[in-house]
Amino acid sequence: MATPRIDDPPEWLADEFEEPEQVIAVRQNPWKEAARELYASKAALASAGFILFVIFLAIFAPWIAPYDPQAMSLPNRMLPAAWDAGGDWRFVLGTDGQGRDILSRIMYGSQMTLIVGLAAVILGGIVGVTLGLIAGYFGGWLDALLMRFTDLQLAFPSLLLGLLVMAIIGTGVIELICVIALAQWAYYARVIRAEAIRTRELEFVQGATALGASHRRILLQHILPNCVASMVIIATFSLSYAIYYEAALSFFGLGIPPAIPTWGNMLAVARDIMLRNFWAPVFPGLAITLTVLAFNLLGDWLRDYFDVRV
């Protein structure tokens, strides 16, 4: 056997010796990791749980609500909560001025609140993200123009704007959704624009340009997917804001008419009878506060979670 030269691989290694490339990072399931970190944060965990609970209420309200939310019962008007003096355990959280059960109305109210909130967030998101992507990616005069609109939008006190617009276009579910979306899109646009500017300088975008990719492909395939983290974070905060905003508009009587309950218009109705039935505004108010808080906390956690990865 010839003396092995310094260039020859040893015999037993020779067969396996083709550029061993098997060393790859340990594969981790991103969902498991996310779940683990969620458990670590008690606040986020509680928030997530609460939100799931609200969604559950919204879906199953027709089956678990004790009464029809619109069923009036004049003999049982303005009952306080069951544990207070004069309360009735058939109406656990009391009744409003028309004798409608507050508990059932809160359960049904979650439906409207979530639907309006989600629809507004989606609508505002689509508009805002599109404009933000275009402004950030193309830059130049287009960017300047779009940003002036955004500035205008953000400079206006949003509630005032909402009142103004609804005074013009009238009230109703669709109008409400549009107004809330109008108040939101500028936040999306701003943040996504910054993300687009950041991402377009990254080398894989330049590589795609060099490959010959069209602007559309670059925006949809390369820039947008890398903005998802920001979008999710804004969406959670946006949803909490939408809920608050709907409540505010309803409080001014510009929301959905009180027959169909939303937490906002329940508050509005309760305002009149507050002095006689102290409980009436408490429960819808509590519902709004807790839900807004839950979304905010979850949004905070999401922001921290994505921060580490990015």
Partner: protein
């Protein structure tokens, strides 16, 4: 070059990090010494543990105390309190880093920063400290040193900033200078200036340098002795001439031969000799010798089962390889043909 007792002695150094995925042994049983007035180069790639070692010596690992012993002038640094370490850092042991832009505070003038370093450790008046700072700027070859004291880091070029950082490190007359990749971010011509400067300063001031780098050519320019690290271990130690003339560890041989250009080994078909494979994932270290999956001399049963120990040959050289004698024989055969 080594006179008398070594200035720095590192024994059985261990730095382990706990991560959610397991324990990462960044530095595993590392031994080396730095003598008075000598330059010891620590060579390694990413994952070798070379930077963590230097941070461990300076106790800059965020409160964590590594295992083992680090004796500086006979005293164990690992046993010292944080305030004791503070009086040693920047004073007896100074450190310079790769990126001068992030190591110098951008909102203070370089004069201010050097003076701060001086007054923290030496008992001098402000005027005396100022003079001393100007002296150190002169020492490192910054022209118009007095005027430069008022400059901010961003007003200086990369080479000048690195010189300023060296000036700051030397202003307290340290016995040991730890240089972590000081020229990696510099242009070739500027690197030559800085290396020239460091050699000159070492001669004039008689200080020791612990020079950390991945560049073997720079090692040849600067070092008296070399320590090669791989995957948290020391795998070879030798005086510089011997390391380049007769490397023993297959990893060192691979590094030397895979240098692109006229100093590497070009095979008959024009391809450069390579070290195949990748640096191992510290969480999934191979069994036996950490280098064996990439080693063309690896022998099943020998290199795959047990970790080799560092073997001394009596002449000051150390090598962590079971088969270094056979490797040596083959290398001599190959170079003679």
């Amino acid at each position: 070059m080594t006179r008398g007792a070594p200035l720095l002695e590192v024994r059985d150094l261990q730095v382990h990090f706990d991560t959610p995925a397991g324990v990462v042994k960044a530095v595993n049983d590392v031994d080396f010494t730095v003598g008075q007035g000598e330059t010891l180069a620590v060579v390694g790639e990413s994952g070798s543990g070379k930077s963590v070692t230097s941070l461990a010596i300076m106790r800059l690992l965020g409160g964590r105390v590594p295992g083992g012993e680090i004796r500086f002038e006979g005293q164990d640094l690992l046993a010292k309190s944080e305030s004791e370490m503070r009086s040693i850092r920047g004073n007896d042991i100074s450190m310079i880093f790769q990126e001068p832009m992030t190591s110098l505070n951008p909102v203070f003038t370089i004069g201010w920063q050097i003076i701060e370093s001086i007054t923290t450790h030496l008992d001098l008046s402000h005027r005396q400290a100022h003079e001393r700072a100007v002296e150190s700027l002169n020492l490192v070859g910054i022209p118009e040193a007095r005027a430069r004291m008022k400059n901010y880091p961003h007003q200086l070029s990369g080479g000048m900033r690195q010189r300023a950082m060296i000036a700051m490190a030397l202003s307290t007359d340290p016995k040991l200078l730890i240089a972590d990749e000081p020229t990696t971010a510099l242009d070739v011509t500027i690197q030559a200036q800085i290396l020239d400067l460091m050699r000159r300063l070492q001669r004039e001031l008689g200080m020791s340098i612990l020079f950390i780098t991945h560049d073997l050519a720079v090692v040849a320019e600067m070092a008296h002795r070399v320590v090669v690290m791989y995957s948290g271990n020391v795998v070879e130690q030798a005086p510089v001439s011997e390391l380049f003339k007769s490397p023993r560890m297959p990893y060192t041989i691979g590094l030397l031969r895979s240098m692109p250009g006229r100093y590497g080994y070009k095979k008959a078909d024009g391809r450069l000799e390579i070290i195949p494979g990748n640096v191992p994932n510290p969480l999934q270290l191979p069994s036996g010798c950490a280098f064996h999956p990439r080693c063309r001399f690896a022998k099943r049963g020998v290199c795959t089962d047990e970790q080799p120990e560092l073997q001394a040959d009596g002449s000051g050289r150390l090598v962590r390889c079971f088969r270094w004698k056979e490797v040596e024989k083959e290398r001599q055969v190959a170079t003679q043909e």
